[in-house]
Symmetry: C2
Subunit: 138 residues, 2 copies
C-alpha cells in the first residue's frame, strides 16, 4: 500500500507539480482498498476535491505508472485496475464473488530463465493469476 508522502514526494522529485487534483488521487490510492479502477479513483477523489475530472485521473495514473509507482493490471475484466508497484504481483481471484487476494510467493523464476533462453526474450516482469472459488462461496 502506497504512502501519500512517498508518492507525493516522488512525483515532485520527478518534476511534477503537487496540485490539489493530484494530491486527491494520491490520497485515494493510499487510503482506498486495493485494485482500484479509474472510476473508483475518480469518485473517491471527488469527495476530497470535488472539481477533480476524469481526464485528470487518467493523466495522473499515467504518470504514476510511468514512474513505476503504480502497476496496471486486468483481472479478467475489461477494466484496468491499479496496484502499488511495491506490492505482490500475483493474484488469487474468486470467480464467484470477485474477491481478490494478492500474494508474493513465486516459483516462476526458473521458468523465466528457460523462456528467455528458448525464445530470446528479455523478460521484465510476470504475473500469475489463479482462479477458483473462495471459502465463502464454496
Amino acid at each position: 500500500m502506497p504512502h501519500v508522502a512517498e508518492l507525493a514526494h516522488k512525483l515532485k522529485k520527478a518534476g511534477y507539480k503537487l496540485t490539489p487534483a493530484r494530491l486527491a488521487v494520491i490520497d485515494v490510492l493510499e487510503s482506498g482498498g486495493e485494485h482500484l479502477c479509474h472510476n473508483q479513483i475518480l469518485e473517491a477523489g471527488q469527495k476530497i476535491y470535488p472539481k477533480l475530472s476524469r481526464a485528470t485521473v487518467y493523466r495522473t495514473m499515467d504518470i504514476l505508472v510511468e514512474l513505476k509507482l503504480m502497476r496496471p493490471l486486468y483481472l479478467n475484466e475489461p477494466t484496468q485496475r491499479f496496484v502499488s508497484a511495491a506490492g505482490g504481483h500475483h493474484h488469487l481471484v474468486c470467480t464467484r464473488c470477485g474477491q481478490t487476494i494478492e500474494f508474493d510467493d513465486c516459483t516462476a523464476n526458473e521458468l523465466v530463465d528457460q523462456l528467455a533462453d528458448r525464445y530470446g526474450f528479455q523478460i521484465h516482469h510476470h504475473l500469475l493469476e489463479f482462479r477458483g472459488v473462495c471459502v465463502n462461496c464454496q
Copy 2:
C-alpha cells in the same frame, strides 16, 4: 487450435442449433490465429457470412465459453480475447510489438496446492503471463 467439426458437434450436442452465423464464428476460430478478440472474429466472420452481426458474435462466444470450449483472457489491454480451452494457457508477451507466444510449461502446480491450503480456495485454473521484449525488438 479448435476443430470446426469438434466445436460444431459439441454445440449441437449441448442443444444449440447449428446456424450459418455460428458456423462462421467457429470457422474463424478454427482457421484464424490465436488470441482473437470479438472484433477480429466479427470482421473475419463477415467474410464468410456477411450478415453476421456483432451481437451474434458476442452471444456465440458466450456459449463457447460457457461450454468451456474456449477461454477468455485479457492480455494487458481492455479487450477480451479468446484461446482454445485445450491450448496452452500461458503467455509471453512483447511489450513493444505485441507479439504473443503461447506455451504450456508450468511449474506452478506446487504453488496451486500451497495457495489452496493457505486460503481455502478451490483453484480451477491459472494463468501465467510473462512480459518483456522479443528478439526483434531488442
